[in-house]
């Protein structure tokens, strides 16, 4: 990629990030904060000597769910919104390749996801500090993996968004994310059904999804956090490589599809 193209990608990324943080993401973060504090209140009422475990588990679950929902919504809607409002015309008519828009959007959304994850981590840390809980390094590693997972989801959202409507794109992204998250369970279920000769159409469809989406359960570190298991550096590197590589591939295909589209 040439320097002007990189500069264009950065500029589009910055604009996407600013737009996202000034609108939808703020609301999402506020909702998360509210949910955390409501949870804190409920927890102190309901739990019995399980505060720390519940706080960690629920904190990661909420962070992960929030990031995934935000990324599915933002990425699936992102390109379509540009096309629908026709703001794309002024951008792709500049001397840049069309794929720069996709990469720029991805950069902006990745930064937004990063901010969202950071906000979640900070909010959780404040709640934990009020509860007298000391956060572990694994907990922060878990948030990093949540960010890596949200990059994959963003890549899928942008890929589907490059040729379909937000609803279809969000549905496909959500479906593949579910398949990715329950990857191990699906493999087990499929093998068991295969042994028993009870394969259903739905199971076969889910099985075919396993070929296109990586095992997202790799990015769920809640067990490691709760049981205090040490996390080797190779694990984080593997997760990062998988996330960046898969997202890059999605963006590459999205760019090729988008290049051929008539922008009416």
């Amino acid at each position: 990629m040439s320097t002007p193209t990189l500069s264009a990608i950065w500029a589009i990324g910055e604009a996407t990030y600013r737009s996202a943080t000034r609108s939808k993401l703020n609301i999402a973060v506020a909702l998360f904060g509210l949910a955390m504090f409501v949870l804190l209140k409920l927890m102190s009422d309901a739990s019995l000597n399980q505060d720390a475990r519940l706080l960690q588990d629920m904190g990661l679950f909420l962070s992960s769910t929030l990031c995934l929902v935000a990324m599915i919504g933002l990425s699936a809607h992102s390109l379509y919104r540009e096309l629908e409002r026709k703001s794309v015309f002024s951008i792709v008519s500049k001397p840049i390749p069309r794929s720069a828009l996709i990469w720029g959007k991805a950069l902006g959304l990745a930064m937004s996801a990063g901010l969202l994850t950071l906000m979640c981590a900070l909010t959780w840390s404040v709640v934990a500090w009020r509860q007298g809980l000391e956060p572990s390094v694994t907990m922060y590693q878990a948030w990093y993996m949540i960010w890596c997972e949200s990059l994959i989801v963003m890549g899928l959202g942008l890929l589907f968004g490059s040729f379909s409507t937000p609803l279809v794109s969000a549905a496909l992204t959500f479906g593949l994310t579910l398949i990715g998250r329950f990857n191990q369970d699906l493999v087990e279920l499929y093998e068991r059904a295969l042994r028993k000769g009870e394969l259903t159409g739905a199971l076969e469809l889910a099985q075919s999804g396993l070929y296109v989406v990586p095992d997202l359960s790799l990015f769920n570190l809640s067990h490691a956090v709760i049981y205090g298991s040490p996390l080797p550096a190779e694990y984080l590197i593997r997760g990062s490589l998988l996330s960046f590589g898969y997202t890059g591939l999605c963006l590459l295909i999205a760019g090729l599809i988008f290049k051929r589209r008539d922008l009416i």
Binding site: E14, S90, S93, P95
Partner: protein
């Protein structure tokens, strides 16, 4: 050696396939009514915009102006024909260096301010990072938007969006400006300022292609024009000739027999006269419209045949009238 035209469009065709089966190439030929519609938006359009020229693309809504312009900007892939910007294929990003585009009703990111928007576009058209803010402020000043440079775009009016759109098109001193309905949404003061701005750009040596369906704007600005109707280029001429086409005069005659003789009528028709519908009128008048260039001969004919003249008035055709005339000429 002839200078390379800033924009060259040759035999441009664009057909849109709409409906459920549109994305499937092999199914496009199937006759499935509304499920498989074909729209020929542009049919064989050819013209060039020379260096330092303001070229106007005239046409009613839906005539094919925007499709032609989008093909020129590489936003739409032509079904056939060639489009070149500064001698390079319009689909190459390199061809768009020094080319500015203002879409019809431009829309930008609502959450950004005009200054941030222009900085973004500065980065996209290669303005060095250190000059972006200065250049953005300069262009916002030119379109009278300095006072609102930090307000989010969602709070600005349609006319202000249009001004921001014009400012982004002027960034980095473009050699060719392609503007789709640039004067729409502007108030009279804004329209005048915009016209002056475009003339300044021409003075600087830039070429301009602009589309509009408003005749007076085009007459005030353009050196040449192309008139597009139902996807086809119907006229390609100097702007001065448009004035002759759109100005006509109307005669109301009261012939003693209640109608003109066939000899009188054929003489008038030879001058380009058109009988108005429902002749004679309730008052027993025969009304005709003639090109302004035939005024002297027509009056001489009226005097020679001693035809009582009841009224004579000049009139400017609207674009719709002009297209109606073109369609009539085609039929005849």
């Amino acid at each position: 050696m002839m200078p390379t035209p800033a924009l060259s469009i040759r035999e441009l065709h664009k057909t849109f396939h709409l409906g459920l089966f549109a994305p499937i190439p092999w199914a496009r030929g199937l006759r499935l009514g509304a499920l498989n519609r074909v729209v020929e938006a542009v049919r064989g359009v050819s013209f060039e915009v020379g260096p330092g020229e303001i070229f106007g693309l005239l046409g009613a809504n839906g005539a094919g102006k925007s499709t032609t312009i989008k093909s020129a900007m590489g936003l739409i892939c032509p079904s056939a024909g060639e489009v070149e910007l500064n001698g390079l294929s319009a689909h190459e990003p390199a061809a768009r260096v020094g080319v500015a585009y203002l879409p019809e009703n431009p829309v930008f990111y609502d959450e950004l301010s005009p200054l941030e928007t222009l900085e973004l576009f500065g980065a996209l058209c290669g303005v060095p990072a250190r000059d972006r803010r200065r250049e953005a402020r300069e262009q916002l000043g030119r379109v009278g938007m300095s006072h609102a440079e930090s307000r989010p775009l969602r709070l600005l009016s349609k006319g202000m969006h249009q001004r921001v759109g014009i400012a982004q098109a002027l960034l980095n001193q473009p050699k060719l400006l392609i503007l789709d309905e640039p004067l729409s949404g502007l108030d009279p003061v804004g329209r005048r300022a915009m016209r002056e701005l475009l003339l300044e750009e021409r003075e600087r040596g830039a070429s301009v292609l602009l589309s509009s369906h408003i005749l007076p704007d085009m007459e005030a600005l353009c050196d040449r024009f192309g008139m597009i109707h139902q996807g086809q280029l119907k006229r390609l001429a100097e702007m001065s000739s448009l004035a002759r086409e759109v100005e006509e005069f109307e005669l109301s005659l009261a012939p003693p027999e209640g109608a003109l003789s066939s000899a009188q009528l054929s003489e008038l028709e030879a001058l380009g006269a058109q009988l108005k519908p429902r002749q004679p009128t309730r008052e027993g008048l025969v009304e005709l419209s003639l090109p302004i260039s035939a005024r002297a001969q027509a009056l001489e004919l009226v005097v020679r045949h001693e035809l009582p003249l009841r009224d004579l008035r000049e009139r400017r055709l609207s674009l719709d009238d002009l297209f109606e005339r073109i369609a009539r000429e085609e039929r005849s």
